[in-house]
Symmetry: C2
Subunit: 410 residues, 2 copies
C-alpha cells in the first residue's frame, strides 16, 4: 500500500462536472489500495470573484482580511469534493489549513509554511478515509488564517507529502507532463518520462510554467518524488526526482526554456577596477529591481562593459538609476534593449559532457542567429538573442540536441 498525495488546481475543479471527474480519479486510486490525501485549489473563477468583491470595497484591503476572504475559495472545494467522494461510497473528510494544521509565519498573502502537524491526517487515513485538504492556506501561531500566495496549492501538496513521507506527490494539471520545450513553439516537443529536480528548477525559472518554483525546491529539499500529470486524460506524466542513476544513458540536454519577459541593459566604458559590479548593481537593488542574467567581459584599456537583464516592466526605472551611476563612475554611457529573448538549454548531462555549449552556438550560427550575451551554470547554458529569432532558436536547438526522438539524445 502506498501513500499518495494528489493535487488538483483551479481548472481541474472548475465545475461540478470536473469535481465529479476528480472524484472518479481519487476513488480509483483509493480502491487500488492506496492511502490518498487530496489537495485542491479554489474553483477557477472563484478567487477572481472574491478579489472583485474586495476591490469594490477598498483599493488597498488589509492583507489579513484578504486571506480570510480568499481562503473560503478552497474551503468550498474541499466540501464539494468530499461530498462527491461520499456519493461514490468513498469515506472522505475535508480539512482546512487550520484544521490540518499547517502552521505558517504571519506574512499574510505570502506566508511560508513553518511546520505541519500531520497527526490529524494520519488518524483519518488510519480509519480508511480519503483526506481532502484546502491548498494555499495555513494558520499562524496566533490562529490567524494565512495564504501562501500564488501557486501555493502546489507547495501545500509537496509539504504535506514531505510531512507524511508520502510515496509520491502527484500534481494534476492541464498539461500531461513536462515537455522538452513548449509544444506551441516546437512541434517536435516531447513529454519527458523523468527529469531531475535541478533540471526542473532551471526549466521553471527559465520560463517553463508547469510547476511553481517554490514547490519544486521544496520537493527537492525533502526528496519528495513529484509527478506532473493531466487531470483530463490518463497517462504516466513526468516524474521529477533526485534519482538520476537508474538510466545509464542520460540525456545531455533535457529541455529548452525561453522567455521574452526581460530587457537588456549595458553600461559602457566602466573603469575596470575592483568593486565595479557592486557599484552598478547595489543602486539597482536599492531601487527594488531584480536582476537576472549578469555578464561582465574582460576589460580593454582599463574599462569594461557591464551587462545584465531585468524584467521588461523595470527597464525604464533601471535606466534612470544607471544614468546616475554613469555620472558617478565616469562611465561612457547606458544602452538598453527590450526586444530580446532568453533561450536556455538545461540538462544534468552537461556536467560531464564537453562541447555542449559549442554545439548550441553552432546550431544558432547555422541559422544566422546572433548571440548577444552568454551565461552558463553547471546544468544550463543560456543565451540572449534578438526576440524575433526566439522561436527559430528553440526549434533549431530542439533539433540539434535530437529532443524529438522517442528516447534521449546522446
Amino acid at each position: 500500500m502506498s501513500l499518495i498525495v494528489h493535487k488538483y488546481g483551479g481548472t481541474s475543479v472548475g465545475t461540478i462536472e470536473r469535481i465529479e471527474a476528480v472524484a472518479d480519479r481519487v476513488s480509483a486510486a483509493q480502491r487500488a489500495g492506496n492511502d490518498i490525501v487530496v489537495v485542491v485549489s479554489a474553483m477557477s473563477g472563484e478567487t477572481n470573484r472574491l478579489l472583485g468583491l474586495a476591490s469594490e470595497l477598498s483599493e488597498r484591503p488589509s492583507s489579513r482580511e484578504m486571506d480570510v476572504l480568499l481562503s473560503t475559495g478552497e474551503q468550498v472545494t474541499i466540501a464539494l469534493l468530499s461530498m462527491a467522494l461520499h456519493k461514490r461510497g468513498i469515506p472522505a473528510v475535508s480539512m482546512t489549513g487550520s484544521q490540518v494544521k499547517i502552521e505558517t509565519d504571519s506574512a499574510f498573502s505570502k506566508a511560508r509554511i513553518e511546520r505541519i502537524d500531520a497527526d490529524n491526517i494520519r488518524s483519518e487515513l488510519a480509519q480508511g478515509r480519503v483526506v481532502v485538504v484546502a491548498g494555499f492556506q495555513g494558520v499562524d501561531p496566533k490562529g490567524n488564517i494565512t495564504t501562501l500566495g500564488r501557486g501555493g496549492s502546489d507547495t501545500t501538496a509537496v509539504a504535506l507529502a514531505a510531512a507524511l513521507s508520502a510515496d509520491e506527490c502527484q500534481i494534476y494539471t492541464d498539461v500531461d507532463g513536462v515537455y522538452t520545450t513548449d509544444p506551441r513553439v516546437c512541434e517536435g516537443a516531447r513529454r519527458l518520462d523523468k527529469i531531475t529536480f535541478e533540471e526542473m528548477l532551471e526549466l521553471a525559472s527559465q520560463g517553463s510554467k508547469v510547476l511553481q518554483i517554490r514547490s519544486v525546491e521544496f520537493a527537492g529539499k525533502y526528496n519528495v518524488p513529484l509527478r506532473v500529470l493531466s487531470s483530463f486524460k490518463d497517462g504516466p506524466g513526468t516524474l521529477i526526482t533526485l534519482d538520476q542513476e537508474e538510466d545509464m544513458e542520460k540525456p545531455i540536454v533535457s529541455g529548452i526554456a525561453f522567455t521574452r519577459d526581460e530587457a537588456k541593459l549595458v553600461v559602457r566604458g566602466v573603469p575596470d577596477q575592483p568593486g565595479v559590479a557592486a557599484n552598478v548593481l547595489v543602486p539597482i537593488s536599492e531601487a527594488n529591481i531584480e536582476v537576472d542574467v549578469i555578464v561582465q567581459n574582460q576589460g580593454i584599456n582599463n574599462t569594461t562593459d557591464f551587462s545584465f537583464t531585468v524584467a521588461r516592466r523595470d527597464m525604464e526605472a533601471a535606466i534612470d538609476v544607471l544614468n546616475g551611476v554613469v555620472e558617478r563612475l565616469g562611465a561612457a554611457g547606458v544602452e538598453s534593449d527590450d526586444r530580446i529573448a532568453k533561450v536556455s538549454i538545461v540538462g544534468v548531462g552537461m556536467r560531464s559532457h564537453a562541447g555542449v555549449a559549442a554545439k548550441m552556438f553552432s546550431a544558432l550560427a547555422a541559422d544566422n542567429i546572433n548571440i548577444q550575451l552568454i551565461t552558463t551554470s553547471e546544468i544550463k547554458t543560456c543565451v540572449v538573442i534578438d526576440e524575433r529569432y526566439m522561436e527559430l532558436a528553440v526549434r533549431a536547438l530542439h533539433s540539434a540536441f535530437e529532443l524529438s526522438g522517442s528516447k534521449h539524445s546522446v
Copy 2:
C-alpha cells in the same frame, strides 16, 4: 462606555453598497465611544448559491461537509465588512466561529452552543478594535466546523452578548421593530417601544417572524437586553427586556400573532377515562408529528372529544395514525380540517386583569366569527377559527384592545 453587540442579517449585507452602509452604522456607534462586536450572516443569495452547488453533487450531502461549505458564506462577509471599516479609519478584525471560539456540540447543521471563550474578543476590544464575528457557526470539541441552523446568527449575537456581559444586543433587520401585529394585515399596527421576553416568545412562537425563538429564549435566560432595529432607517426599534416594572401603566395586550400553517384534528367519542390523552398523543408523537394546541373538553355520557392541531403538511399522516387509534379505543371517529387559522393575543398584563378573554370573545362575536377551539396560558389567549376570517379577526382584536393608539391600551 458601553459594550454593544450588533447583528446584521443576510439582507442587510446583501451587496457591497449595503456592507458600506453597515460599516457607516458601526463606525458611528464606535466613534460614539462604545466597544462594538458585530455579528454578520452570509450575503443574501450566497447560502442558496452554495446549497445549489451541493445539490448538483448529491441529494443527501454529508451534514459535516455542508457545514464546511456553508460556513464560508459568513467568512466572506466578515472579511469584507472589516475592509469597509478599515476604509473608514476604524481598526477592525474579523473572527470565524472557530477563531472566537464558539464551542458547540457536534450536531452538524443544527449545533447548539455549549461554551464561548470570549478572551480573544476581549483582548481585541481592549486594543480599540471592532470585532467582526461570523454568525451561524462554531467549532466542536474535535475542531470540526459546525453551523447552528436557520436563524443561527441571532443566536450567535445573543450568546456573545451574554458571554461578554454586553450592555445591549442590537438585532438589525429589514423591519424597524416589533409591531402590535403584522402591518400588512392591520393598517393600525404600531411599533412597540418595549416588550418582555415572555411576550416576545409567545409572539414569535405564535407566528410573528421578527426574531428566532431560540435567540429570544437565550436572551431571556441570560437577561441580555435585546433590541430589534432597522438596518435601513434610523429609529429606536423595540427593546426586549426582563424588566417590566418601570412602566406603571402596563398594556394588557402587547400584540396579536396569527398563523394559517396548521390543521385541526378531532377524535370524537373517546371513552372518558384516565390515559385518554396519552392514548391519542403517544402514537402521534411516535410518528414524529409535532402537536401545537391541545384541547380536551369535559366529557358527556362517559365519552369525550379530543382536539389538537398539527402542521398542515402533517395532517394526512396524523389522520392515518388516528384511524388506528379510533379502532383500538373504540372511539366514534376522526374529523380533520386544514382550513383553519390560529389567532393569539399576548401580553404580560393579562396576568392581573380579569376579563381579557371575555373581551376577546366578544370582539370576535361582534364580527360573527365562530370560535372552534380555545386555549390559554398566563400571558396568552389563543383561538382557532375558520381561516377565511383570520385577517378580520386580527383587525377586530387590534381595535378592541386599542393597540393602534399612540400609547398603551388600558
